[in-house]
Amino acid sequence: MAFFEMARIAMGTLFRRPATRRYPAVAAKQMPLSRGHVTIDESRCISCGMCMRKCPAEAICVEKEEKTWKIDRLRCVVCNCCVEVCPVHCLFMDTVYSPALTEHAGVDIVNITYVKPERPAKKETAEEGSG
């Protein structure tokens, strides 16, 4: 039988700094690899829709005609899948977590500003955003 083993541990914690942090006031722990939320570089997206097809949570929506890229932050499970499959590497994983929300919002709509560069005038220029 061990006597006062727990008392020793409990007394030890009295003289240490708190093990927790006061979260909203103090920033959360972050590592360089942490998966926080997905960001997009709208000037490079070619609206191919690969991220939309591969997303396990169906959180991403790419509208080719309207040139928008939508993500539902409450559906996104932050799995890094879209970042891996993007053919032009325009998606990035930020290390900051999405903030808490008090109402069902969180659909971020990004207007894609990518303009397909003009090919030298040999053939007809294709429709924009074919990927």
């Binding site: 939309m52 169906e58 959180a59 991403i60 929506c61 939508k70 539902d72 559906r75 659909v107």
Partner: protein, 126 residues
């Protein structure tokens, strides 16, 4: 190179109880029972294990066929058999603890028979 040998024996429904009894005598433990729906027939796998030696029995039955319960040999099989009944609608006869479809409380009866997915609309409206 396989990590483990997969010994699968396809057997008739009538031979199931005899084969399971033989395995029980040989000291196998029940690993799992599960169902796979192939078109309009069900494939039911019974897996056993003894000292990391894997043995699998498989029966192929129609969707409405009543199958005998093996809970006489393996008392703990009621969890799998009730699960099969609740998700696929397999009629199992003679379970030791029959929940009559309340082991897994699902909103829809036999949901895995005809799984429904949200429609094919635009991604976020699904």
């Amino acid at each position: 190179m396989k990590i483990e040998e997969q010994n699968t024996a396809d057997i008739e429904l009538g031979a199931l109880i005899g084969r399971v009894e033989a395995l029980k005598e040989a000291g196998f433990r029940l690993v799992q029972i599960h169902c796979t729906k192939l078109d309009d027939r069900l494939e039911i796998n019974y897996s056993f294990d003894r000292n990391y030696e894997f043995q699998n029995l498989r029966i192929n039955v129609g969707i409405e066929t009543e199958i005998p319960s093996i809970s006489g040999m393996y008392w703990g099989s009621f969890a799998y058999e009730n699960e099969m009944h609740d998700l696929f609608g397999v009629q199992v006869k003679g379970m030791n603890i029959d929940f009559h479809g309340t082991f897994i409380r699902t909103a829809k009866k036999y949901p895995f028979r005809e799984p429904e997915f949200r429609g094919e609309g635009p991604c976020q409206e699904r």
